[in-house]
């Protein structure tokens, strides 16, 4: 069992969505939320550790990830 966190950037600071990887209901809810955001063109990054470890971009929800950061789409100025 492990707990995953999805940090979703919003205007109010990030909103955190937590799930227990062994709890199917929580995993499905987190996956649905992830997919909704991806449809809105959010970019998803996995971040392992909290010391600035280099992350990578992901396309699909993985319930075993420790931390996912969802970033709204950027535009050129």
């Amino acid at each position: 069992m492990s707990t995953g966190t999805m940090c979703v950037m919003t205007g109010a600071g990030d909103t955190k969505i937590l799930w227990d990887s062994s709890n199917r209901v929580e995993v499905d809810a987190a996956r649905d939320h992830f997919n909704d955001l991806v449809k809105k063109r959010y970019l998803a990054f996995k971040a392992e550790g909290r010391e600035g470890t280099r992350g990578s971009q992901i396309r699909d929800f993985d319930p075993n990830l420790e931390r996912i950061i969802m970033v709204p789409p950027s535009v050129g100025g």
């Binding site: 919003t10 600071g13 950061i69 950027s74 535009v75």
Partner: protein
């Protein structure tokens, strides 16, 4: 609303002491003459200056400043507006605190120290390119310590600290996507 009748009704009047017909053509000539100037402050001042100097009241053209006939806000309205503004300010401050905490969690010790000291930090990509991400300015590409390219890129609707974290993650994970999105300006040598 009365002033609209002046400009569209084809009725004679005075602008700057000169008699002229208030035809749509004349109105738009005046607009366009000022619009073509480079000084945008004058544009607004002249257009609205003319609007305010002459307006229509019933069947009479009246000179003088047009004032909206709106009652002053009540004490209750002022109290509500003030409370809303204060609430918005507190929410923005709280959002910024959360965003800064999230950013600092994802910086390495050197970047964190740099951000706390100068509100900026350096990101090195997989291709070994170096970018400076600053709270105050657009991202810059560095050649050594020299800034060589500035990038115009925005993530709307989030605090600046979240925006910087997003740029960091994108640069580290997908530099090409960052470069494809941002508008680049090469800086003078």
């Amino acid at each position: 609303m009365m002033a609209t009748a002046v400009f569209l009704g084809g009725i004679g009047g005075m602008i700057g002491g000169t008699a002229m017909a208030y035809t749509p053509a004349a109105t738009w000539v005046a607009w366009n003459q000022t619009y073509t100037t480079a000084n945008t402050i004058n544009i607004q001042g002249q257009v609205w200056g003319q609007w305010n100097q002459i307006y229509y009241q019933g069947t009479n053209v009246v000179s003088g400043a047009y004032t909206a006939n709106q009652p002053p806000p009540t004490e209750e309205e002022i109290r509500i507006a003030t409370a809303r503004a204060e609430d918005a300010r507190k929410q923005a401050a709280a959002a910024q605190v959360r965003a800064e905490a999230l950013l600092l969690e994802h910086l390495d010790p050197h970047q964190r120290e740099s951000y706390r000291k100068d509100k900026l930090f350096i990101v090195e990509t997989r291709k070994k390119n170096r970018y400076q991400l600053s709270h105050a300015r657009q991202p810059r590409k560095l050649d050594g310590t020299k800034e060589v390219v500035s990038y115009c890129i925005h993530t709307y609707g989030v605090p600046r600290e979240d925006e910087l974290l997003g740029f960091k993650l994108l640069l580290e994970a997908n530099e090409d996507e960052f470069l494809k999105t941002a508008n680049a300006t090469r800086l003078a040598a």
